[in-house]
């Protein structure tokens, strides 16, 4: 007997209707029109990897951005727009570039005026590129890959420094610190995570350290996450370098430093570049012995800035740590608010123009007034910090220094 099939059987119907059901449930078809119809507020996309491997940094970044938004709103909002309040749209990049991309699509559909954040270079690259399709201003908070601002994207701005500047500053300062101490360090081992951040940095260090009088004994790459550094530390112990230079995210950095402490590996110095934990109050509080005397070249607030110290107190009163993600994102929101204020509009093109001509000096960083050239803030530079006692002190440059460097590390 031949069974006569209709054009659409039940299974096909269920499969295709699931699409329609999804669209109806989530409201994504009609969402943009509804959201745009809401009143006088300026929508701001706040994008961070708040889940996944980079969740701690992402959550800290979100904290800094939301505190700034709350403060701006409490102080009367954007005055040039009749006191319009910032309406944050929080996005989770889930520590992946495609996660960041999907969030930018949502933010664009919701009609945000601009986006800040991204944190990791790979997320910033993908998210800013998607934002560029819609001429949506994108202010990078931390992502340091040089390629973020060398792609010719008109919408992308970076408030902080890139790899090139950071590596040069770190190396210049390392040479100066070493020279001032009578050149005790001659050999180096580099330990880095193997993504965009760590590998890029390791490449630069390998290229430049030999020319500055340091022999690179070995470069060890590891993935993120890595949960055991025993073998890495055994290698360090065997090669016995004068300096260890880690380039890791927070968790791996802490683990490496603790393993070095456990195996009693004490080089003359641990000098990090953008050390995930080396400039972290969380690390200093939780593992004070492992953190002691570690030097870092990193994003850091201006210790003479009263606003920066007030924010530190506020964050600590909330029971949180004052990490660089907090004050970088806080500063980025202030910078963006200033641009919108001067543009007197939430129009994307006008915000981009206002950012291009920005001379904002009300941020927390020791950068001076902002000046963007091809999207890169020219004054942005890292500073050197060192864990001394139970605090993090700025040791370089002298203009901002709150303590003198202790190098080589005293042997226990």
């Amino acid at each position: 007997m031949t069974k006569v099939r209709s054009g659409l059987d039940r299974r096909d119907f269920l499969q295709t209707s699931a699409l329609g059901a999804f669209a109806a449930v989530t409201g994504i078809v009609a969402a943009p029109a509804v959201l745009r119809a809401q009143g006088a507020s300026v929508k701001l996309g706040v994008l961070h990897p708040v889940s996944g491997a980079l969740s701690y940094s992402g959550q800290q970044g979100r904290l800094g951005a939301t505190i700034a938004i709350e403060e701006i709103n409490a102080a009367g909002g954007i005055k040039a727009l009749g006191g319009a309040k910032f309406e944050p749209m929080l996005g989770d990049a889930q520590s992946t570039p495609d996660g960041g991309n999907a969030e930018v699509e949502k933010m664009n559909a919701a009609g945000v005026s601009s986006i800040i954040g991204g944190y990791a270079s790979s997320i910033c690259l993908a998210a800013s590129q998607t934002a560029a399709r819609y001429d949506l201003p994108y202010l990078v908070d931390v992502g340091v890959a040089d390629s973020i601002v060398t792609r010719g994207l008109k919408n992308t701005f970076r408030f902080g420094p890139g790899f090139g500047v950071i590596a040069k500053t770190a190396l210049d300062n390392l040479v100066t610190i070493n020279d001032q101490a009578g050149k005790p360090a001659k050999s180096v081992m580099i330990v880095h995570e193997d993504s965009l951040f760590g590998s890029g940095l390791a490449k630069l260090l390998n290229a430049q350290l030999p020319g500055r009088g340091f022999e690179v004994l070995e470069t060890i790459a590891h993935p993120t996450p890595t949960r055991d550094f025993n073998n890495v530390v055994l290698k360090i112990k065997a090669r016995d370098p004068d300096l260890v230079i880690p380039a890791d995210y927070y968790n791996e950095y802490v683990l490496l430093a603790r393993t070095m402490q456990q195996q009693r590996v004490r080089p003359k110095g641990i000098y990090s570049v953008l050390g995930g934990a080396a400039s972290s109050y969380k690390f200093v509080k939780e593992f004070p012995e492992a953190a002691q005397y570690i030097m870092d070249c990193n994003h850091w607030f201006d210790p003479r800035n009263a606003k920066a110290l007030a924010l530190k107190k506020k964050v600590e009163d909330k029971g949180q740590f004052y990490t660089y993600e907090v004050f970088m994102n806080y500063s980025c929101v202030l910078l963006l608010a200033d641009a919108i204020e001067r543009a007197a509009s939430a129009d994307r093109a006008k915000i981009i123009a206002a950012l291009e001509s920005s001379t904002f000096a009300g941020h927390l960083m020791p950068y001076g007034p902002t000046k963007f050239v091809n999207g890169q803030n020219q004054g942005a530079a890292p500073v050197n910090t060192q864990v001394l006692g139970n605090d993090i002190q700025v040791i370089f440059p002298a203009t901002f220094a709150s303590a003198k460097p202790v190098f080589p590390m005293p042997r226990a």
Binding site: R11, L14, S51, N101
Partner: protein
């Protein structure tokens, strides 16, 4: 191959092709592109794992090969993106054939084969993270060039149609395998390799062929990823995430079925989005909800969502079919 076998495929593809006409939001289109991308990777895995019974944990090896080849050819050698895309698929197929030949000729089966594929993917990930041609850990960035000649588009719609076309081809490939003698031999190898060999089936050739087709489909997904996101690094290309997605979609949707990977990808991604809506801005809560629901689906629907539909269909069919009238005995 009859029209009757292809009709359901045609209907589903036509229905999906009409999505951009109904849904104009780029958010929804981006979502659907992601679903179809995972469906394509899942179909790649399904050809080898579902029909061939060879469970791979390292399909990222083929995904990454496709992604890197298309990106590197464009960025370093100035090859046209369309040609780079085709060469990416071909290279992926070659890598699949090579890994398949090495593994199956060595007689690796079951968990040993799974571990070897995982090892190949990890080796490729480490190589990509240190080799200068891949950009090492920095990765490879394809320049934004929104022209159709560069396989880049301002709108999401052309991307949607390209990935839909690839999924349509993969569905036809799966259907052809099901209906062909090759498919029958492959299933015979899956069910009982020794018996299949005894009946004269060249099991190694069948498995290597399935792996080559599987790798080509998965590499196509990698090529598309590179072209869509314009950035590839070792973690994205060869990381375990895509291997997990590749096997999750067919397992959830229905392993060894034509529509299983597509259905699974749709369910998995919809679940993820709905979990985000429920969780709001609480970081990570959506992933917890997503994980819990996934466990429930796997626990209570071992044949996948497709299997649930099938059982429901059978149940309704039985309920609608009138009970047979008992024959009356004629006396006299």
């Amino acid at each position: 191959m009859t029209a009757r076998l292809l009709l359901p495929l045609l209907l589903v593809v036509v229905a999906l092709a009409l999505v951009p006409a109904v849904v104009t939001s780029n958010v929804a289109l981006n979502f659907m592109v992601t679903v179809l991308l995972i469906a394509l990777v899942g179909q790649g895995w399904n050809v080898l794992g579902g029909y061939g019974g060879q469970y791979s944990f390292g399909h990222s090896a083929f995904f990454g090969t496709g992604a890197y080849v298309t990106a590197i050819l464009q960025v370093r050698y100035g090859v046209n993106a369309w040609l780079g895309f085709a060469l990416g698929i071909a290279t992926g197929a070659l890598v699949g054939a090579a890994i398949g030949a090495v593994s199956f000729r060595s007689g690796l089966r079951g968990s040993y084969f799974a571990l070897v594929t995982l090892a190949f993917a990890e080796v490729l990930r480490i190589l990509a993270s240190v080799t200068p041609i891949t950009g090492a850990g920095v990765g490879t960035l394809i320049k934004l060039d929104l022209r159709p000649e560069a396989l880049q588009f301002q709108s999401r719609v052309p991307f949607y149609w390209i990935i839909l076309a690839l999924v349509a081809i993969s569905l036809i490939v799966a259907r052809v395998i099901e209906a062909s003698r090759f498919g029958a031999w492959l299933v015979a190898v899956r069910e009982n390799e020794s018996a299949a060999r005894a009946l004269g089936v060249n099991a190694t050739l069948m498995k290597v062929s399935a792996m080559t087709i599987s790798a080509a489909i998965t590499a196509a997904a990698g090529c598309f990823y590179a072209q869509y996101f314009l950035f590839v690094d070792s973690g994205i290309a060869f990381g375990p995430w895509i291997s997990v997605e590749a096997l999750l979609a067919p397992i959830i949707g229905g392993i060894g079925t034509v529509f299983g990977p597509l259905l699974g990808a749709l369910v998995v991604k919809m679940l993820g989005e709905l979990a985000k809506l429920v969780a709001g801005d609480a970081p990570g809560l959506d992933l917890v909800i997503y994980g819990c629901v996934l466990i429930l689906v796997v626990a209570f629907a071992p044949r996948g969502v497709g299997g649930v539909f099938h059982e429901f269909y059978n149940f309704v069919s039985r309920a609608w079919t009138p009970a047979p009238t008992p024959m009356r005995r004629r006396d006299g």
